[in-house]
Symmetry: C2
Subunit: 439 residues, 2 copies
């Protein structure tokens, strides 16, 4: 006997879950399109080279789904969308009008141990801007888009916060302050990321094991605990500090004052980021975690031979977003909409008439569920009721002779004879009553 | 250097192709929902057992994408949707209200040699009805749905034809007329399928090699060439002949007279069909080929321990449908809709104002594309023009002082000063002019 369960870490979308997904994605789509973004898509399979280039090593070595196709090509089920988007931008770079504003909602796969908020298959809204005349403007546009996405679901600054940083500031710390070799940057960054989660002793031991002396550890402390002072000390060493302050200032002046803050601990996992990075956190007490994030990745297109194509974007996962919306009571899950249930008396000769009436109503734009051979009228009414269809059209032999049907409003119990020529009009008028009663 | 091409047999959907796909799918969705169907989805990966059970052997042995996951489970990238749909129906069979009307538009993968109309990745609309009180009514509903899908794109009976048959009629031929063993049914069916495509000699040789004598070959000829006579000869042997005639009659009486015909050569490839089968053919001279098809598969749920769950459905591929729509000039590919381009004079201090105005317009439901740092005004106008955005809002230092902007209609060249408090209203009135000029 075959199992009825979906593959571990993946989800079946029965109609109620699918309605939720469609509602959520349609809200995302209309928000993103308000910013002039266009939807695109790429194949779910890509050659492995695309990921070896720039995706984080952890993902490639332990989390990707990879296999050889029947032609011996090593293929990958995409674990993220940015490499495919970059490939496609590079493929038509000369012909595409800049700036390019693209979005997509692909499904992605990672071999993970499934847990709350972490599944093997998830969907992810990806938004990216390539080739902006001034990348700084694009960073702000992306920041506004990220915030607007959540605000358009009804979320406000009490529910989430954008924490921002710049990879060049972290690089400056490693290169000009700590003066450590490039191959130690990633391991030290990982220890820094643990600072708030582990005891001080353990943190110090790890930093020492990574080769850092007391003065270096003190510099890291200053950077993480007093970034304003760190900025003041190093302002003359690089223009990135003034740029970060400018970004914060313009964000604040353009309506995001309550939403953004500088956070020196934000790094982002992917190796390809080159500048501005951000992460959006849920402010729910006890559930204070990263919802989604993104940043600038100006050099990813170099892998395809395209130089100096600036790029900024983010990816927002459906599982985390759904969890956020549910925990803040921002979910509106619409019902299935069927306007009319067509009930038919138990006479097989009525079937062609029923099909004709259903066709006419559907041609007029109505959603019609027809009885499919249930003989008992009571069960037909029950079916309409269980499916929450408020209007039932009843077709009997007598009615057919008079070119009429019975129409029953399941909400108030009224029932009338209606001539076929007036049927659409009568349905519309009953639906107006049903809407009015609802609101 | 990395390749910019998509994997062989798969497609990149740049925004124009994606707009087409979204237009096509949205038309399909609204047609299917008029019949009361609800959308669902399943993971793209399934365990191989799901396909070993019933999918055609050719697909499993030579065409599926299969691999072992990191936990040593043999997984498949779905080559069709019916097994997943059946698994999900079985998984909640007791709780789901019957009849179940489900649809989905999954992407599917098969390792094929790519050619016109045959790709490795394609999308497929799947529509299925499970648990109808009378399966005969469900067959007719599915038939109407299949025809309506094409009619709602503007297609008519001069463009396509539904050819119908019943697996039980073919089984009757093999079992009661030819009296051949069950394991010879499939090979003989494949030779029958070639009858019109190969010389008579060759056909006869193949039939003889399959063990059929002259009388048996004559019976096959009668069945294929004079089905009315074949029906008359065998009417008493099985109720399926009367049922097929009834199906044709009700279809004709319910508006499908010009669309349907009986065709003894229709078999359908999947092993799981048990009754009514149909195939829809493009009538274009020189391109007379199968567009899509489906049928009844009442026993598929037995693999999950569910007995007597009647089921009927079909799958319609996007590549074939697109080809059909294009060859009959039924395509309407909508433009990207951006209401306003927000141009900004080259003064960085204007950026917060620009972001604020863009936010306000977007809050009012408008789609706004903002300048992202282009300093030359001429280039900003050019950008709006190239992207076919008919209205440009121009923001300069003088205007900000007066709480105003300039508004330029790119279609008629007019330009006016508009105060910010009247901006939304003015945009709406300009857009009404633009719509009026278009229509």
């Amino acid at each position: 006997m075959l199992s009825v369960k979906p593959y571990r870490g993946s989800r079946d979308f029965y109609p109620p879950e699918m309605r939720f997904r469609k509602w959520m994605f349609s809200r995302l789509r209309s928000s993103v399109e308000q910013f002039g973004f266009e939807e695109m898509d790429a194949p779910i399979l890509e050659p492995i080279d695309l990921y070896l280039a720039k995706t984080s090593e952890e993902i490639v070595s332990t989390q990707i789904y990879t296999f050889k196709d029947r032609g011996d090509r090593q293929m990958v089920i995409r674990p993220e969308m940015t490499p495919s988007v970059s490939r496609m931008v590079a493929g038509k770079f000369r012909d595409l009008k800049k700036p390019i504003r693209w979005y997509s909602i692909p499904n992605l796969w990672r071999y993970e141990r499934p847990s709350k908020g972490r599944l093997r298959e998830h969907w992810q809204l990806n938004c990216d801007i390539f080739g902006a005349p001034d990348p700084f403007w694009a960073d702000l546009e992306i920041l506004h888009l990220a915030v607007t996405l959540l605000k358009n679901f009804g979320a406000d600054h009490t529910m989430f916060r954008v924490k921002m940083n710049d990879r060049r500031i972290i690089n400056y710390l490693f290169e000009n302050v700590l003066k450590i070799q490039a191959d130690w940057w990633a391991p030290v960054a990982r220890i820094m990321d643990k600072k708030e989660k582990i005891p001080r002793d353990e943190y110090m031991a790890m930093m020492t094991a990574a080769g850092l002396g007391d003065a270096q550890i003190a510099s890291v402390d200053l950077y993480l605990e007093n970034p304003a002072r760190f900025f003041a000390d190093h302002r003359d060493g690089s223009p990135v500090f003034a740029e970060m302050e400018k970004l914060m200032a313009v964000a604040a002046e353009s309506g995001l004052r309550d939403y953004v803050e500088y956070d020196p601990s934000v790094v982002r996992g992917f190796d390809y980021y080159t500048g501005f990075v951000f992460e959006i956190f849920d402010l729910t007490p006890g559930n204070n975690r990263s919802l989604f994030g993104g940043g600038r990745y100006d050099r990813l297109l170099e892998n395809f031979g395209i130089q100096s194509a600036n790029a900024v974007g983010f990816g927002m996962g459906d599982v985390t977003l759904q969890d956020f919306l549910e925990s803040h009571h921002l979910v509106q899950n619409p019902d299935k909409l069927v306007h009319v249930y067509l009930a038919v008396f138990p006479d097989p000769s009525l079937l062609p008439h029923a099909l004709n009436i259903a066709s006419d109503l559907r041609k007029a734009g109505l959603n019609v569920e027809m009885n499919l051979g249930q003989k008992k009228m009571g069960k037909q009414f029950q079916e309409a009721d269980e499916k929450n269809i408020p209007l039932v059209i009843i077709l009997g032999e007598e009615e057919i002779k008079n070119n009429s049907v019975q129409m029953k409003n399941m909400k108030n119990g009224t029932q009338n004879q209606v001539f076929l020529e007036n049927l659409q009009e009568s349905i519309q008028s009953e639906w107006e009553k049903i809407y009015a009663a609802k609101n």
